[in-house]
């Protein structure tokens, strides 16, 4: 199961020595198996919010519940895919993917079986023994996604993972991401500043306001999959997202 609830999350930043309210009471419930994209103006704290969900930062107020249970620390039930991948350069692709399994004490043969499945899924098999510096940015993000999936988390948290990719690679990964979601039925929360990306991926898009941020609007994207970025029918959803974003001037 993977129903995750954020209740009244508040977070302050230190800005010139003074506390600045960055997140101003975010409430968000993501049901098991839902694919939710979070968009918002830059600096609205959407990445910080994701890190709070991951347990990598503590909120100043509010709480996170996973299937009704309050979460305190970070852990493999919610795996984060970082913007730059955060792959370990001293490990091969295969060892990177198996890292979490090894830490969990899973024996080697079983680790290989699991990692092989996800390396195949992400079309990385032929790069299993490569080091990360030998890979393109797109390949690195595939490894990062595979590394997250092997942990079989309840929730997958993705922090602008495609932001640094060229548009061709990104389009490809947008389609693959939808297939992964349909295949694994994971709960996914995906932060992006790219509106078309949100419209392609999300079953729902949560629009954050300017800081102190709250969930300004929640838009269902009710459209068949797999979606592709150039599909003109997605245009109306993109317009809705943009309107919700624009609806608010800077404070």
């Amino acid at each position: 199961m993977g129903k995750i609830e954020a209740k009244n999350i508040v977070k302050y930043f230190q800005h010139d020595g003074k506390p600045l309210k960055a997140i101003g009471g975010v409430n968000l419930t993501v049901d098991d198996g839902e694919f939710v994209c979070i968009v918002g103006p830059s600096g609205c704290g959407k990445s910080t919010f994701l890190r709070i969900l991951a347990g990598l930062e503590k909120p100043d107020e509010g709480e996170i519940l996973l299937d009704g249970k309050k979460l305190v620390n970070t852990g493999p039930d919610r795996i984060m895919v970082f913007q730059e991948g955060a792959l370990f350069p001293w490990l091969t692709v295969e060892d990177n993917v198996e890292y979490g399994l090894k830490v969990a004490g899973i024996p080697e043969t079983k680790r290989h079986d699991i990692s092989k499945r996800y390396l195949d899924m992400m079309q990385l098999s032929q790069f299993a023994n490569s080091y990360t510096y030998q890979l393109s940015t797109g390949m690195k993000q595939r490894v990062a996604i595979a590394r997250a999936l092997v942990m079989d988390p309840d929730v997958l948290l993705m922090d602008e993972p495609f932001a640094a990719l060229d548009s061709q690679t990104r389009d490809l990964l947008l389609v693959e991401m939808q297939m992964i979601w349909q295949k694994t039925k994971k709960t996914i929360i995906f932060v992006t500043h790219n509106v078309p990306e949100a419209a392609v991926l999300g079953s729902r898009v949560a629009v954050f306001s300017h800081r102190p941020s709250v969930v300004k609007k929640s838009l269902d994207i009710d459209y068949k999959r797999p979606r592709v970025a150039e599909d003109e029918n997605l245009g109306k959803f993109e317009k809705q997202i943009l309107a919700a974003l624009r609806h608010q001037g800077p404070k």
Binding site: L56, T74, G75, E84, A86, F88, P89, Y99, G100
Partner: protein, 252 residues
């Protein structure tokens, strides 16, 4: 290019020997002050044939390896603690910087008082001369780890000791290698210096024996051996290790 470089080097050293021999033939200084390269070579051959040279090298290397191992182990531990626990850095950290400025031979009197004229005393001087270079480089390395590596590892369930062995050490390893390299250089100076002053076996001792016997060619022969070992270890052990790590980590 590579053969060209090698050629240059060989030509340079041959030139040095020729000039050296030339100065000696000019008989500006007496032989007991300025020996010829042939005399130095004979001394080396003599040391090889009676085995005393190998015994000296073996003794010094053995002390070096033990001392450096202690320095690497202790320095890594201390460096990691300093980087991860702010209080340790604020207290022990300042002391480490101070101790780093003490030349290793300055520890010799203390080592003699504490350990007597023994291997332990020399190993102590070797280790303490090297440990702080390892500590400081480890500290810098751990401090410079991309925070997302640590976060990703914690997120995947790594804790405590696992985090140290699977993330902190490998992620900081390129820096640590520099620390080992510096540490080795300090340890080598330390072990030779200590042997000189302890006068208790080893290459430093042989160097000192040369002085006591007024045997200048033995002094120079031992200095050449000390330099040669330095070049070998630098070039074959540390440079190779560094190249390998830098390539694997994608840093070059």
């Amino acid at each position: 290019m590579k053969t060209n470089l090698l050629g240059k080097k060989i030509a340079f050293y041959v030139l040095i020997i020729i000039v050296w021999q030339g100065i000696d033939s000019a008989e500006i200084w007496p032989d007991n002050i300025f020996p010829s390269p042939i005399e130095v070579g004979e001394d080396l051959l003599y040391g090889i044939s009676d085995g005393s040279l190998f015994y000296g090298i073996g003794t010094s290397m053995w002390r070096l390896v033990i001392g450096l191992s202690i320095a690497i182990g202790g320095g890594m531990l201390l460096g990691i603690f300093m980087a991860r626990v702010e209080t340790v850095n604020q207290t022990i950290g300042s002391l480490v910087l101070g101790l780093q400025s003490i030349p290793s031979v300055a520890w010799v009197p203390l080592a003699i008082l504490w350990f007597g004229l023994s291997d332990s005393g020399i190993i102590f001087v070797t280790a303490i001369g090297a440990i702080f270079a390892v500590t400081i480089n480890t500290y810098t390395g751990v401090k410079n780890i991309d925070p997302s590596f640590i976060e990703a590892a914690r997120n995947m369930g790594a804790k405590g000791g696992q985090l140290v062995t699977t993330i902190l050490i490998p992620a900081a390893f390129p820096y640590m290698i520099s620390g080992f390299k510096q540490g080795w250089a300090f340890a080598w100076r330390g072990v030779i210096g200590a042997e000189l002053l302890f006068s208790f076996l080893g290459l430093g001792f042989l160097l000192n024996v040369g002085r006591q016997l007024n045997d200048v060619s033995q002094v120079i022969a031992m200095m050449l051996v000390i330099m040669g070992i330095g070049i070998l270890i630098d070039g074959f052990v540390f440079k190779k290790l560094e190249d390998k790590v830098m390539t694997k980590w994608g840093l070059r």
